[in-house]
């Protein structure tokens, strides 16, 4: 067995038994880590593979969350039936934004700003949609919390943890497949040098749009999860630029363009910020903002001292590729 496979099996084993060992708080932190690992993995398809910096991925989380949430709220349709709609809507939004941006040659910083603008535009827009509750939010019914109801994604915290674990594992497998496929080669070529990629017969526009569609669709799934885990949705909380930045953090800290980077990065920054918050609480110095400062400092340190992220140097030390 290769070292990578060994590491993966080990991680998976730890992740599988974790709910039995952990208390309620630790389980929620674990779920949070997996959530960030998954969303960051999805973002990584866009930035890490295809080289297009999106800072508005909260848009796709929000579209997924509101699509599935509204179906449940208004028609009692469960998350699994809502999922395809959520993914389709988010992918469509991604395709529209990508088509507009890439057709008009918007790239780099300008593309990043455009993605922010679309997310903000949508955030304010949702404040005015009364069907989804407007700024007052949409609240999903929570009937029971003890027995497991997979169909409606209702059950004890461990259920959510395992769902998120399955999603994260699935995303890792999918990204690994993508990276080794024609799409993976083309995306990386586009990321490295768009002009050269085009000269080799790659329809750059089409493949960039595809990257956006896949990335947005994957991200929407985490939105569906978010809706049923959180049970309340507010435009301000869901579409905020801060949420988009949280999505980016895992990959940037772990290693943009790598497969394990988003997972390690999400674990590192979640544990550090939760740890710092707990430590502050323990000394009775609990103040809002401390978590954000920790996010900021960790991001700053990693960007300055480990520009490739944590995972690539770690992988070399472990002897993995």
């Amino acid at each position: 067995m290769s070292r990578a496979a060994l590491l993966l099996t080990g991680l998976l084993a730890v992740a599988l038994v974790f709910p039995w060992l952990a208390g309620g708080y630790a389980l929620s932190v674990g779920t949070l880590i997996l959530y960030f690992a998954y969303t960051s993995q999805s973002w990584n398809v866009m930035m890490g593979f295809a080289g297009q910096l999106s800072l508005g991925h909260a848009l796709y989380v929000g579209i997924g969350a509101y699509a599935a949430g509204a179906l449940f709220y208004h028609f009692g349709i469960g998350p699994w039936a809502g999922l395809p709609l959520a993914v389709a809507l988010a992918a469509l939004a991604g395709v529209v934004i990508a088509c507009l941006a890439f057709r008009f040659g918007v790239s780099g910083v300008y593309f990043a700003l455009l993605t922010i603008a679309f997310a903000e535009f949508t955030r304010i827009g949702f404040d005015h949609v009364s069907w989804t509750g407007g700024p007052g939010g949409m609240f999903l019914k929570v009937e029971q919390r003890d027995s497991i109801d997979l169909v409606h994604l209702r059950g004890p915290p461990a259920l959510y943890y395992y769902v998120m674990l399955a999603l994260t594992a699935g995303a890792l497998a999918l990204c690994s497949r993508l990276l080794g496929s024609r799409a993976g080669y083309y995306w990386r070529a586009i990321r490295e040098n768009e002009e050269a990629a085009q000269a080799l017969g790659i329809n750059v526009f089409r493949w960039k749009v595809l990257a956006m569609a896949i990335s947005a669709g994957m991200t929407a799934i985490s939105g569906v999860f978010f809706a049923f885990y959180n049970n309340s949705l507010f435009p301000e909380q869901v579409f905020n630029t801060g949420r988009s930045i949280e999505i980016v953090l895992g990959s940037v800290i772990g290693g943009v363009g790598t497969l394990f980077g988003p997972i390690f990065g999400a674990a590192v920054f979640t544990l550090l910020s939760e740890g710092a918050t707990e430590a502050l609480r323990a000394v009775g110095w609990e103040i809002p903002g401390s978590k954000g400062v920790v996010y900021g400092v960790v991001l700053l340190l990693v960007i300055v001292f480990l520009p490739q992220g944590i995972w690539p140097p770690l992988a070399r030390r472990l002897g993995i590729r």
């Binding site: 910096l53 918007v106 679309f118 304010i124 404040d127 103040i287 400062v293």
Partner: protein
């Protein structure tokens, strides 16, 4: 809805827009020269606003007088930030520079939250409720002074870039980094100077703005986005574009807030941003590169 009401709102939008424009001018100057997008711009401004609010609370210092010490402090801090941190990043990929400033912004906004809590702070001076009257048109004195200060600062900055040796040298760096190095300019020092000047714009705009809005930590990201909207609409790197863009956004927010709904006003700005990015990425007032 009467014409007077719309005219009053529009004029107040123009004046506020000039202050926004000064803030955006800082972003534009930094981008135009250093080629780094300052994602911590609005956060820096909210720090300036807190500084002005604190100086007022502690020493009863009028924000228009607080401009001097705050601007000096911001110049030093901006210079240090560029010299100590951002200069290392000028050869790094775009996304890495971007995220560096995201990190700085996160630290600033949450640092303010930790230090001062989430509650709004305001400054009350006696002329705040007074206004100049021109028939049916009323102009808030504080707003008029703030706009005047913004114009004076922008003119001083413009004069600096046009008429001083250092200003011309900075423009040379902006035009051609390598050529500037070849002719022996100390590019990194000039970059630091530029960032310092951009921070001064932010400081002045922030002090002036404390008279117009209450300050909370969460204003920072909002103003960063607003500054982006303004400079993109006006043309990144164009000084006059930043001021005009500020006025345009100021008016559209004020009038849009009146005609549509106050909460939808920034939707108008983001809509404008999207349209401009797609159709005229060099900005309404910028030159095509």
């Amino acid at each position: 809805m009467s014409f007077d009401l719309v005219a009053n709102v529009a004029i107040s939008g123009i004046l506020t827009g000039l202050v926004y424009g000064l803030m955006a001018l800082g972003l534009s100057v930094i981008f135009g020269v250093v080629r780094v997008v300052n994602f911590a711009h609005g956060q820096m401004m909210s720090v300036a606003m807190y500084a002005a609010a604190l100086l007022f609370a502690r020493f009863e210092l009028d924000p228009f007088l607080a401009v001097a010490p705050v601007a000096v402090a911001f110049f030093v801090l901006g210079y240090a930030l560029q010299a100590g941190l951002i200069n290392r990043f000028i050869t790094r990929p775009e996304h890495s520079q971007f995220l560096l400033l995201v990190a700085v912004g996160l630290i600033l906004v949450n640092g303010l939250l930790m230090a001062f809590g989430p509650d709004a702070r305001s400054v009350q001076v006696d002329y705040q409720l007074e206004s100049f009257e021109f028939g049916d048109i009323l102009i808030d004195k504080a707003r008029a002074y703030a706009a005047g200060l913004a114009i004076v600062t922008a003119l001083l900055l413009g004069g600096f870039f046009r008429f001083t040796w250092t200003g011309v040298a900075i423009r040379a760096c902006a035009d051609n980094y390598f050529a500037a190095r070849v002719v022996g300019l100390h590019v990194r020092r000039l970059y630091a100077l530029t960032f310092g000047l951009g921070a001064v714009c932010v400081a002045v705009a922030g002090c002036a703005l404390t008279l117009l809005v209450d300050v909370t930590p969460s204003l920072g990201p909002h103003y960063t986005l607003l500054a982006f909207v303004i400079v993109i609409v006006g043309g990144l790197g164009s000084m006059i574009g930043a001021l005009l863009g500020g006025v345009l956004i100021g008016v559209s927010e004020a009038v849009g807030g009146l005609l549509i709904s106050p909460s939808a006003k920034s939707m108008l700005s983001f809509g404008l941003l999207i349209v401009v990015l797609l159709l005229r990425p060099q900005g309404l007032f910028g030159r095509r590169s």
